[in-house]
Symmetry: C2
Subunit: 163 residues, 2 copies
Amino acid sequence: MSVTDELLRNAEAYAAGFTKGDLPMPPARHVAVVACMDARLNPFGLLGLEEGDAHVIRNAGGVVTEDEIRSLVISQRLLGTREIILVHHTDCGMLTFTDDDFKAQIEADTGIRPPWSPESFRDPSEDVRQSLARITANPFVPYKDQVRGFVYSVTDGTLTEVR
Amino acid sequence: MSVTDELLRNAEAYAAGFTKGDLPMPPARHVAVVACMDARLNPFGLLGLEEGDAHVIRNAGGVVTEDEIRSLVISQRLLGTREIILVHHTDCGMLTFTDDDFKAQIEADTGIRPPWSPESFRDPSEDVRQSLARITANPFVPYKDQVRGFVYSVTDGTLTEVR
């Protein structure tokens, strides 16, 4: 039995107890969260979110690339969110490699060098500032008054704002 | 007080009760989930995930674009995941517009036409197949034996596999 099959059993239990079938499409709290995909980071638990509250966008690092801009633009322009919360974290996998080395490994393995940036970084706080700067500079994201960035500690569960 | 400030209070409560500070970086269940950012979709709740179990990648639609490939490649090559679960859902915001109209609206508003595809779609199941096909065709994702896609119903909480 695959892990996927095991998780599908959990999904059956979730559906059996499901009571939230009438929530509207736009997020009730009008907020979009951009966070790292890291397994130790649970945005719903951390921020006390309930189903229906917020858009949650996640990727390797929680970095803002073109696809996060796409998601944020849809979130704000079509679905009414007005605040953005960025969450990077300590002990991130993105700290463990360099873009050049990773691309060279992939090229050695596949014969093809990825045409995209892996987006590794040296310091989570600095990369939060980089992601904030990318949002600030983007011409398509309309609402930038409430965009704040944080580093989550995977060892103590705290959230520290990056200024 | 902003919504962000309210959510930061929730984060203080989460940290106060935090007991999972010794989890390893690689996901315990060796699985990566790619899901829509929709506020009604709670991947942890739906799949019965705990902190430490799985990478969770999310964006507008749950579509596989270059940034999801980047995240999946890092997930599999550096952090040991071997299965991929794709989750789109019913009543998705991506069903409510066309790429051409949305880009024209943004151009009318900002004077600049986005150089990226908004990735709207007409049918969640068909777009799951499209995302599966993008993973299958990608030369950088090494493990493709266990890649399965689903449509989540926001009205009844069920998950239906796309074949």
